[in-house]
Symmetry: C2
């Protein structure tokens, strides 16, 4: 399921950058598969809790999985959001936007990859690193927002295209937030510590 | 904790509608209290699972609570987002926007109230009703977006104010999404059925 979510994000970013309709379709199929996997995974976690009555670290792992499951599913939703923006830009026409979406997409994808790796390897230090990356994508999103707002003020004819860009940046920032949530749950599982609200994780 | 989240939303909407700085401060304090409550509640759920090894409906209830807990905390984040927009509008100056934020805020607050009530009463039918309300707030948000985009195109000087309005509408729509998530978890608890992805719940 983590692999599917990661693929959904990477394909959505490629679909957007290359204006590729068939990649859009692929993302939608992947999202449907993620939704199915989410139901199965929740069911399995429930069965495990009911039948095995796990203790301590196993119990923390299952709780972490239930939460991570929700974040992976929402990552799929965000990837789908990028696909909707891609179809919109194909409809309303292109404009040069002053935002490096490739860099932003790569950064968000790297956060997901690292969060998933931290989960698979039980690596709390890698999870720490993911949480620290969150500030950078917040900055990228903020810069994109400011620059596209300026563009709208100077060229109101590009309002729709600029808004489209603002929303794509926002989707990427929210994907990064979910990666950060996953990292937090990995740390809870490994260290038994609740790190939420210690670092400032902005969820906007 | 549900009461705190509900209060945070209602106060944030009032703070925005009345441009009230002291209400902004109150929302921020409430959000901090929600974050503390979230940690305690997760801890309690963990202790219960570890020590009592609950079965069947009790187990489903605890799993639902762990998830609902996450949604309540994110509702607090969204309320805080409305507060940030309120402070921004105080800074950048007023503009008449063609959006009925009072109606939208009341609708979102009603969804939270009903979702919380469904949880407290174990009322799956009320939870169904909350899920059905989600489409209406999606429509309200879509209309606000379209109307504010038109405003920007006609009066680029109001871009910042219009963007502020777009973001407030988006926060309200996301609050409603969380209410809908809570309703889904209540239904899972009561009926043991997983209703996600049967109705189309848009998470944007």
């Amino acid at each position: 399921m983590a692999a599917l979510s990661q693929q959904a994000v990477e394909s959505a970013v490629d679909a957007y950058l290359q204006r590729d309709k068939s990649l859009c379709k692929y993302v939608k199929q992947t999202e449907a598969a993620i939704n199915t996997a989410q139901r199965e995974l929740d069911e399995m976690a429930y069965e495990l809790l009911a039948q095995e009555q796990p203790m301590a670290i196993d119990l923390r792992f299952i709780i972490a999985v239930i939460k991570i499951n929700g974040d992976l599913e929402r990552i799929g939703d965000q990837a789908n959001g990028i696909v909707r923006r891609t179809k919109e830009i194909l409809r309303i026409g292109e404009a040069d936007l002053p935002v490096d979406f490739a860099a932003m997409g790569e950064f968000a994808a790297r956060m997901i990859r690292s969060a998933v790796q931290a989960l698979l390897d039980g690596d709390a230090r890698l999870a720490d690193a993911v949480r620290e990356m969150d500030d950078e994508i917040d900055r990228m999103n903020h810069r994109a927002y400011e620059d596209l707002l300026k563009l709208i003020e100077m060229q109101p004819g590009l309002t729709q295209q600029a808004m489209n860009g603002i929303l794509v940046a926002k989707h990427l920032e929210r994907i990064a937030d979910h990666a950060s949530n996953i990292a937090t749950d990995v740390i809870f599982w490994i260290r038994g510590a609740d790190v939420r609200h210690q670092l400032s994780v902005s969820v906007d």
